[in-house]
């Protein structure tokens, strides 16, 4: 049961968004710029960062919906998504993305955990300042989204079909349009 009177039958963050459209708007816009807007990191890479942080925060709705969006961008490669969540160092992703995931994991714990060495390492592997900035902000933003979704005790159904459809929609349309 959600902690407050959220609309029934609406899952996860969508119920918080429906309850308070005023705050939903900038939160949707932020997710859209970070995950779907023009970027030298691919949408799949950015969704993997979001999924990894959500997994570390143990947010079922967020890791499953963004994992589905990542899989949709990756030609349905759910195995890679699971591998990144479980042990990204052994996953078939670039060394640059591994260095960015290391930074994201530190931000998830606390911003203060990130070191100049972590950033220098990412830069050696080709990460730009903008990519490092966006990695930090994606990880920080999901430290917000995850707390919002779990802090209200939103309804988070265990329904793989629903998340797969959501992932396809997010991957193709982005985050600005409220889902039905």
């Amino acid at each position: 049961m959600p902690h407050i009177a959220l609309p029934e039958g609406v899952p996860g963050i969508v119920s918080g968004f429906a309850f308070r459209p005023e705050t939903a708007k900038p939160m949707r816009e932020l997710a859209h710029v970070l995950l779907h807007g023009p970027n030298s990191l691919t949408p799949a890479e950015r969704e993997l960062i979001a999924t990894y942080v959500s997994s570390r925060n143990d947010c079922y709705f967020c890791q499953t919906s963004h994992g589905a969006a990542a899989a949709a961008h990756l030609g349905k490669d759910w195995g890679l998504v699971d591998q990144v969540k479980r042990d990204f160092q052994a996953a078939d992703v670039s060394d640059k993305l591994k260095a960015l995931l290391t930074i994201a994991g530190k931000v998830q714990e606390s911003g203060k955990r990130v070191t100049a060495e972590d950033v220098a390492h990412a830069r050696e592997l080709g990460a730009t300042d903008m990519e490092i900035h966006d990695t930090v902000l994606i990880a920080a933003a999901f430290s917000m989204f995850n707390r919002y979704v779990d802090g209200l005790a939103t309804w988070q159904p265990d329904d793989p079909t629903m998340y797969a459809a959501m992932g396809e929609r997010l991957a193709s349309q982005g985050y600005l349009i409220p889902s039905a």
Partner: protein, 185 residues
């Protein structure tokens, strides 16, 4: 010095926002609604929640600037701001705000820490669903802002007068208006 070249000398979140205006806009819009927009919680109460969470996250820039906005919204009562950070249960604030700060502190540690009992206690002290929602989201949002500011290693000057002046300015004009100083039109 920040970990990346922000291409400006602005301190704290302003340096990061000026670097990336595309994300700065929704970030400012969100904080404007949560802390400055119309609400049954006063701006002083909401800024105290933001300050408390930023203090728990040990973010100097955020706790100092939002502490200054809180004080400016509370007739300059900087001692009350310090007391809320230090031990809010013994601060001269309402029982409702204490119950909301308990929820905010749990969100800071992780959303799953919030219990139905915490929420029932806030409701028993008169908190509405929107106030509980906004408390959760303010606490969650500051877990983002704090990580953003510290995760980039932004410069955070120890200059109390600077924060005090900006705090008054933000309390009066709000976040979106103040952001026009460093964001392109």
């Amino acid at each position: 010095m920040a970990y990346i070249d922000l291409r400006n000398d602005l301190p704290g979140i302003r340096g990061a926002m000026a670097f990336r205006p595309e994300t700065a806009r929704p970030l400012n819009d969100l904080v404007e609604i949560l802390l400055h927009g119309p609400n049954s919680l006063t701006p002083g109460e909401r800024e105290l929640i933001a300050t408390y969470v930023s203090s728990e996250n040990d973010c100097y820039y955020c706790q100092t600037i939002h502490g200054a906005v809180a004080a400016a919204s509370l007739n300059g009562d900087e001692a009350l701001v310090k007391q809320v950070k230090h031990d809010f249960q013994n601060a001269d604030i309402s029982e409702k705000l204490k119950a909301l700060l308990v929820i905010a502190g749990k969100v800071q540690r992780g959303g799953k820490h919030v219990t139905a009992d915490d929420v029932a206690r806030a409701r028993a002290q008169g908190a509405t669903d929107v106030e509980i929602h906004d408390t959760v989201l303010i606490a969650a949002a500051f877990c983002m802002f704090n990580r953003y500011v510290d995760g980039l290693g932004t410069s955070q000057p120890r200059d109390e007068a600077m924060y005090r002046e900006r705090g008054k300015w933000i309390a009066r004009d709000g976040y979106v208006n103040v952001s026009k100083e460093y964001l392109p039109a």
